[in-house]
């Protein structure tokens, strides 16, 4: 299913990455080999406050885990979703309800309905993109692995994070 480019806009992605402080990761796994754990580890390492959302765990990576977005007692800047696309719709409704800043659907979490709900609720939306890879593309060290960041600039960058 082709993903609309309007949910993959570089400006939106960079704005989210620069402005966000708290990242609620829905479906964060305690298993260090899972993609969600890679992203949680990376986000924590790069200064974001990681808030696990996983009803099956009390604590993940040393952070208290909440059963749902609505149980989180603070502002959520980004809702990062590692769940089945069908589950993303309800998560989008919750993200709107708690006043989150952005809904970020990871690789393969493709749901136009979820995206529409979040956008109608005033959230920025990113779909079928990885939070870690996009951070590394624009601010981090992705180019050290020979990946095509598509970043073209003659300016001296700030020290890479």
């Amino acid at each position: 299913m082709p993903v609309s480019r309007e949910y993959q806009e570089p400006e939106t992605i960079q704005r989210i990455l620069h402005q966000a402080r708290t990242v609620a990761i829905v479906g964060l796994s305690p298993n260090e080999l899972r993609a969600s754990n890679f992203v949680g580890f990376y986000a924590d390492r790069h200064g974001y406050e990681v808030i696990p959302v996983n009803p099956r765990e009390d604590e993940i990576m040393g952070f208290r885990s909440y059963p749902s977005l609505e149980d989180i007692p603070k502002t959520v800047d980004v809702v990062d979703v590692f769940r089945d696309p069908s589950a993303a719709i309800n998560i989008a409704r919750q993200a709107v309800a708690v006043g989150a800043g952005a809904l970020w659907l990871q690789f393969g979490v493709i749901s136009d309905q979820a995206a529409e709900i979040a956008r109608a609720g005033g959230l920025d939306v990113v779909m079928d993109r990885c939070f870690k890879i996009e951070h590394a593309r624009y601010i981090g060290r992705m180019h050290w692995l020979g990946f095509n960041t598509r970043v073209i600039t003659g300016r001296r960058p700030a020290h890479l994070l």
Partner: protein, 433 residues
Amino acid sequence: MQNPDQKPLRSFGFHTRSVHAGARPEPNTGARAVPIFQTSSYVFEDPESAAAYFNLQEYGNTYSRIMNPTVAAFEERVGNLEGGIGAVAFASGLAAQSAVLFTLLNPGDHVVASAALYGGTVTQLKHLFRKMSVGLTFVDPDSPENWKAALADETKLLFAETIGNPGGNVLDIEPVAGIAHGHDIPLVVDNTFATPYLCRPIDWGADIVVHSATKFLGGHGTSIGGVVVDSGEFDWSNGKFPVISDPSPAYHGLAFHETFGGYGYLMKLRAETLRDLGSAMSPFNAFLFMQGIETLPLRMERHVANAVTLADWLRGRSEVAAVRYAGLDDSPYSTSRAKYLPKGAGAVFCFDLAAGREAGQEFIRGVELFSHLANVGDAKSLIIHPASTTHRQLDEEELAAAGIGPGTIRLSVGIEDVDDLIWDLEAAFARIA
């Protein structure tokens, strides 16, 4: 984290990307040229960072057999120019190819390859696959039906060159990619002769592109190197490639495709295959390749213009039985060339001397400016007699399949004044008269 006054991204043109892609100014020193990071290894900030780098949880430099910032700039540049998701560089073109194959194949698998390949590749496939117990079928690449007919349940990839060496066959990429995808397998294309300036196979459906960077990318005959580009589009989790999708015993159970999405194949190619085979590109070579690529579009325009002029001139010589260059209007590949190579069919082509093998060797003795050597894609014009050199390990049948006769001469047309090249070949013709 500071927002660095970011402008909206633009889709920059090919010439701009040839100069800039992968080479943002170095943040610590401000160096504008890509520095040659001539170091084997990298000091870790702390033990946690070291662990994160080795676990691939963070992008960090560990050891130059696996990654190096100068090599990475080269990789990103080629990946960008080919329209791929990224690239991994290797010590040679053949090292790059063997790594592609080693990563994807297991004993019992099968590969379908064009019969009109570079002789070194033919030898590599036959030798490597015999060792790996991988089946191999060569097909006449010119008809897509031949590819389809050769498919087996065990077939895991199709392999071809955009422009065959030295026969000049132009691959009909789009239908061959369609056949591969209909079988849930990738099409791997060697794009060395075309370069991304003349053709980007990924745009036509190819999944993996390999290069000998030694040739036109480097462009000056100084360095040996290769590179693999991945489109990032192939679904490695389709059930046919547990080598990519299943938890890897060679990387403490990491499932590369789940964890890295479209980047999974390249991550595995680097973190496992390059790590284990050890065929890393040197930073100095990467630096020279970067210098070369800055002028790739300019050189290719001149290479092609000179090649067209020479091929046309050769066609009018009575000593020449045939000129096999897809850039000529009467080439059997002119339709494919118009579709896939609108800016030209490259600068390597063959012609057959009517007088055969003896005349071929005598012709080579007669040139002054052309260098007789086993390379192509140099700014300098090159000449060789394939039957006695690059393709000499092939038997008669294989030679015929590759389009090589006893009197075949291969030219790699450089960027000199074309009148001087004609002068040189005229003298060689006089010698065999």
